[in-house]
């Protein structure tokens, strides 16, 4: 068993432990930021080293090291690094447990890296719990009433979702006798046609799996936790939740549904239609409810519910596509990358502004362009990218995912999606409007640390790069989409 194959994960664990230990010895907490960043960079480096290797199954087929997993092992450290850079200002608000904050973020990232490589129902569940438990604690870090309420809500609803997920896994296991994804697929294929459709338990198991994972990605109709949790959590954690935890959820949905439930074709078309309908309703609900929001974190929460809708279109495409076409998966991966930089950029700008203004109400963002033009410009760029206006990453991502959907017969879904983009323009541009047109209510510029500036510039650079020269990103997504399958 070659340990080098799980070097990124080991590195991540070591960094988390190192941060906890370092917290005991050092007074200046920016040391912890630096240690975390070094660890994340090392993990990223190990993943790059593994990129050239062959696909291998490890731990008795419970995990696999393939390009798909490695893609996410590149993506998650970057997301975690950006969140940690942005947290530097925020962490000073916590009375204690500052070291534990960084460690929990790293452990959550570790769980995400594990889940992207997991190919067995058990290892998936373990990794999922690692992610969730770390996030439950992180959401409540501010220890005020709202934060604690958000954490409790997330914990309770998350526990119920995990229970439903486990129940679904039990059904799948019951009807196929296997927990390894490839073996499940083989078992389903070996059942006769009559056998599969006469096994309603299997269908129920799949539906329960959709419910459990749907909670994780805040897809309709499992999205009710998102606005409250996003609003109550510390804003860097909101950013982390909206981007990384969602990406992890999509990673595992892609892997399970592609590896285990792709055949027979009528099965994949069944769940593809379920996802398509969920996408359509989710986009519409998310966009419409976002319109009356006055708190920017809640607005971004509903916006991320809508964005999850766009992403689910990719899953539906994957279900309807033939085995040879990977368009659904690669367009979804590209969308995840673009959505990550865009949403993180928006949240990082919100972190800086909320720090100064002291509130999260959109009306308090008045006249920001006069006080901090670069910050306003960065937030404007990210909001334009979320709307899907060129030349940003958001537009390219939408174009790619919509074109793959049209190619597999989902024109009706694409029409709903583009109309939703128009609706979303209203509430995104409303924030742009108050920033640029109204008079500022506060004095002085918005202070922000160098770390935050670095993170913000990195995000904006990513948005423009993926928008103007998307080819590199698309090529990477295409390579990564070829998952290790049976």
């Amino acid at each position: 068993m070659n340990l080098v194959l799980i070097a990124p994960e080991i590195c991540m664990l070591a960094t988390a432990l190192a941060v906890i230990v370092a917290d005991l010895f050092f007074q200046r907490k920016s040391i912890l930021t630096i240690i975390s960043l070094i660890g994340l960079a090392a993990s990223f480096g190990f993943t790059l080293y593994l990129w050239g290797g062959n696909t291998q199954a490890i731990f008795n087929n419970m995990m696999v090291v393939d390009k798909f997993a490695l893609f996410f092992k590149l993506l998650f450290p970057v997301m975690a690094a950006l969140v940690i850079l942005a947290s530097n200002d925020y962490v000073s608000k916590f009375k204690d447990f500052q070291g534990e904050y960084y460690a929990l973020v790293l452990l959550s990232t570790l769980g995400m890296m594990l889940i992207s490589a997991a190919t067995d129902l058990i290892s998936i569940f373990i990794a999922l719990e690692l992610i969730s438990l770390s996030l439950y604690a992180l959401v409540g870090f501010l220890k005020d009433a709202k934060s604690t309420e958000a954490s409790l809500k997330y914990l309770l609803l998350g526990a119920i979702a995990s229970a439903i997920l486990l129940y679904g896994m039990a059904f799948v296991f019951g009807f196929t006798g296997k927990t390894q994804l490839a073996e499940i697929a083989a078992a389903i294929q070996s059942l006769s046609i009559g056998g599969v459709s006469a096994a309603p338990g299997l269908m129920l198991g799949i539906v329960l799996l959709i419910v459990g994972f749907g909670f994780k990605i805040a897809a309709f109709p499992f999205q009710m936790w998102a606005p409250d949790v996003y609003e109550g959590a510390p804003t860097p954690i909101t950013a982390f939740l909206s981007v990384a935890s969602k990406a992890a959820g999509f990673a595992i949905i892609l892997r399970i549904f592609y590896s285990a439930f792709s055949f027979p074709t009528w099965l994949s078309q069944d769940w593809a239609m379920i996802f398509a309908v969920l996408a359509a309703i989710g986009m519409t609900v998310g966009n419409i409810v976002a319109i009356p929001q006055t708190n920017i974190k809640r607005m971004l929460a509903y916006s991320s519910i809508a964005q999850a809708g766009y992403l689910i279109i990719g899953i539906a495409t994957m279900g309807l596509a033939s085995a040879s076409s990977q368009l659904g998966q690669s367009s979804l991966l590209f969308f995840l990358a673009g959505y990550a930089v865009t949403n993180l950029g928006a949240f990082i700008a919100v972190i800086a502004i909320s720090n100064k203004v002291g509130s999260d109400r959109i009306s308090d963002y008045d006249g920001l362009s006069k006080r901090s033009p670069l910050l306003a410009l960065a937030l404007t760029l990210c909001l334009i990218s979320l709307t899907g206006i060129p030349p940003t990453a958001g537009f390219m991502a939408k174009f790619y995912i919509f074109s793959s959907a049209v190619q597999h017969g989902l024109l009706w879904l694409v029409v709903i999606a583009v109309l939703n983009s128009v609706v979303s323009a209203y509430y995104y541009l409303r924030v742009v409007k108050v920033m640029w047109f109204n008079e500022p209510k506060f004095e002085g510029t918005v202070p922000s640390s160098t770390f935050l500036h670095i993170a913000l510039i990195a995000c904006c650079a990513g948005v423009i790069f993926l928008g103007v020269l998307p080819n590199y990103g698309m090529k990477l997504a295409e390579i990564a989409a070829k998952m290790f399958a049976f």
Binding site: I384, T387, I389, P390, P391, F395, F399, Y400, F402, S403, V406, Q407, G409, L411, V414, V415, V418, L419, S421, V422, A425, Y426, L429, V432, K433, W436, F437, P470, N471, M474, K475, E478
Partner: protein, 496 residues
Amino acid sequence: MDFNILSLIIFLPALGAIIIACISNSHAKLIKYIAALFTLIPLILGIVVFCNFDKSAAMSGVMQFQEKFSWIPLINSYYHVGLDGISLPLFLLMDLLGFLVVLISWKIDLRPREYFAWLLLLETSILGVFASLDILLFFIFWEIEVIPMFFLISIWGAGRKEYSALKYVLYTLFGSAMMLAGILCLYFTTGSLSMVDIMKNGIGSYVSVVPTALMFFLLLGGFAVKLPVFPFHTWLPDAHTDAPTAVSVVLAGALLKMGGYGMIRICVSFFPAVARQFAPLLIAFAVVNIIYGAAVTLKQTDIKRLIAYSSVSHMGFVLLGIFTLTQVSMVGATMQMVSHGLITGLLFATAGLIMHNTHEREIAKFGGLARQLPMITVIFTIAGLGAMGVPGTSGFIAEFMTFLGSFQSNVTYAHVFTVIAILGILMGAGYILWLLQRVFYGPPQDKFNGVHDADKLERVYSAIFIILIFTIGLYPSILTNIIKTGIAPIIHLVGG
């Protein structure tokens, strides 16, 4: 041309915008000179392109000054720009207007840095639309103009500026949403995003799962919102009236033409059979545009709103010319686009000047300005004559060709609709002459004593507009020869 002159012209204003964004707001003069420089150089290069354009019949249907670079191989998209007979006049029009609006905006003192940065970015995006030969590139440039327009109208506008800006954005995005769906269907059917290839192969050579009529109407939806076609025109009066003067000039002069250009380049060229099938329906809408637009214009009481509604009517001529599908009418439609750009551009510029100097906008409050503002009166009258289509001005050539072509058309009911549409000229004369009489003639009013007439800069840019209007009006073949080479292959496809 050995070097990439088109890309240079398209991206120089954007470069200027970035440079301007780095200068502080206190150096207003420097900002304005840089803006003027970065729009003058593209204009000079544009004139060079115009002079080097090959008008011979052998080059008809061939794209000139082409540049093609691989951009996103995964979806078969190239950075492909080029000009032909249809796009060259419109490209040059925007080139010219880009420079002239900088002159028109010379007196802006509120946040000049952002104003000129957005203005130059707007010019890049519109130039890109006319020069693009790749559908994705076309769409991207089409969308980029939304954000500068949003900012320009809502910060530097007047009246209900924020409402008008948001209305403009939402309408445009709605049209673009339809267009995107159409583009995706087109890409799915043909597997290619190259305008040249699709037009050459013809949509019939591809197996289409999506009916071609659906694709046609999805794409037309986007262009119909832009042109605008009744009933998608309600954004236009608000956006034009509440926008600052220079932005109204660009909006009327170039942005509306993007819709007409798209219709010719994409809707008619790619789907000639569908265009012929639905031509009577679209001509009916054109006539509604012309008559209804002119009728509503007659009852306007705000000077800018009046000119805005007259644009709706004039764009009806363009729609009529395009969908009667004859060589003469389509050349006339393109001529109308260029001519309207110049004439209505001048109308808006002068109206803005009047509003700025007299601080009034209601027509009822004006009167007898010819005595106090003789220069402005002359300029506005000439522009008004052009809008009416008086012989000698480019407006006459455009309207005459459009009507001549549409009367000869073999589209069903074409001559019936043409005759009805000619009524629009009569109504046009009505509102222009009434406007001139109410604003300039009659007894002079004391409250306008001491109002400034057009100063040197304003006289210079007005002169440029007027010279061009008369040049095209008296010697139209400098343009029609070029436009003919672009229209000929399309007519061949449509069988007109």
